[in-house]
Structure formats: C-alpha cells, structure tokens
Subunit: 96 residues, 2 copies
DNA sequence: CATCTAATTAGATAATTGTCTAAATATAGG
DNA sequence: CCTATATTTAGACAATTATCTAATTAGATG
C-alpha cells in the first residue's frame, strides 16, 4: 500500500500538530518552526516526511516555503478509519 | 496526548491488516496469526501493541484468547482525521 | 500428574527514526 | 558580488521498533 507512509507520518505527535496548524491555512516553514521547541533542521525533517507522505503541499515563494494541508490524502485516511467502523459481519444483507 | 499510542499502532501495516480482519468479528490469536507469514511471537507482540493502544479488546476463553475491534478508539481517530478536514480559516462565522 | 495445545514473555539483533550541530543552497537587496 | 535571511542537506547518535528463536505460562484432558 502507498498510504503506508501517510500512516507512518501520523505516528509522530509533532507532525500531527503541524497538520492541525495547517488547518487554519498555509504557513511558511519558519512560521511553523517558530511554534515548536525544536531546531529548524528537525522541523525541516518533519516537513519532508509529511510532504513525502503526500499529507502537505509545498511551494516556494521567494525565500520562504509555504506548506499547506493536502486534504485529499487526509480524506483517504478518514475513509480508511470509517471503513473499520462499518460492520462487515453480515456482508450479504447489510441491515442485520 | 493519550491516543499517541493508537497512532503509533496504526503505523505498522500488519497491525492495520489485523484491525481490518477484526471488522468481521472477533478472532482468536491463533486464527489471526495463521493469516500472516510471521511467527506467533511476532504476532503476539502486535496484539499487545494494539491492546495497549486500546484499539482491540481481548478476553480469554479456555486456552484461546479472542481479540475484537474496539470501535470507540477507532471513532476517536476518525474524528481527529475529520477535524482536519473542517476548514478553520474563518473561525467566527463558519460558513465562509 | 504428564502431556498437548494456545499463547505470551524474554532476550537478542538489525533496521528505522527523531533529534542535534555544522555545512550547504537559495533568494533578496544593497 | 557580498551579506543577511530562510530553509534544507549531511552526518552522527541515542532511542525505538519489528522480528526472530528459545523458554515460559495457562488451560484442557487422559
């Protein structure tokens, strides 16, 4: 499966926080990094993991790089989790 | 956060497959292990991770241990993912 | 109680990961 | 072209993790 990288990306609390912040719109690498008690290279690493997993988009604008939430992949993850909740015990005639 | 262990549990593909199988109802440790190309101790380790994360329930019945999906925690994860999709850019008057 | 089956625990090991510091790249503006 | 700012890349290191084999626990049954 390809979304394995997305699940692995979500395993880190810092990365989940980053995603939560991006819910309010795009942010630059620097602005994001400034919100965490962690060095910029470490944050940069987290950005790369999120980008490689397809969870965020990135674009350079001058000296800065803007990161944004990629809702498509988040939707896939949501669908996966919701699927788990669909009772599959009687696969023929859904309604018990 | 406490659900950190749940996210970490989901990071492994074998564990995600286990959860998917439990969608069809409870299974014994042995029955589950039989479905994977992996030793029983390794599988047992994955069961423990899932149980510690609250993603599965377990109960002994004689010699066997039955594992089942804990939908409550799965619901929490679903809610977290869906929250990410709610646009929060204009927090006062929700409807753009 | 001896033994069989089901499952876990213990302990080792290789691979992956998260973090850091130092160095490099990229862009903007004198 | 030099310097300042923004960000990433490189390389090292400690911690965590996934897996294995061997040993152990727990229950059933003759």
């Amino acid at each position: 499966m390809n979304s394995n990288s997305a699940f692995k990306a979500l395993a880190d609390p810092t990365r989940r926080e980053i995603l939560a912040m991006l819910r309010n719109g795009e942010m630059t690498a620097g602005a994001l990094a400034g919100r965490f008690d962690m060095t910029k290279p470490s944050m940069s690493h987290h950005f790369a993991v999120l980008r490689d997993a397809g969870l965020v988009t990135s674009r350079r604008e001058g000296q800065q790089i803007w990161y944004g939430l990629n809702t498509t992949v988040v939707q896939d993850l949501t669908a996966w989790a919701m699927d788990l909740l669909k009772d599959n015990r009687h696969p023929k005639g859904k309604r018990s």
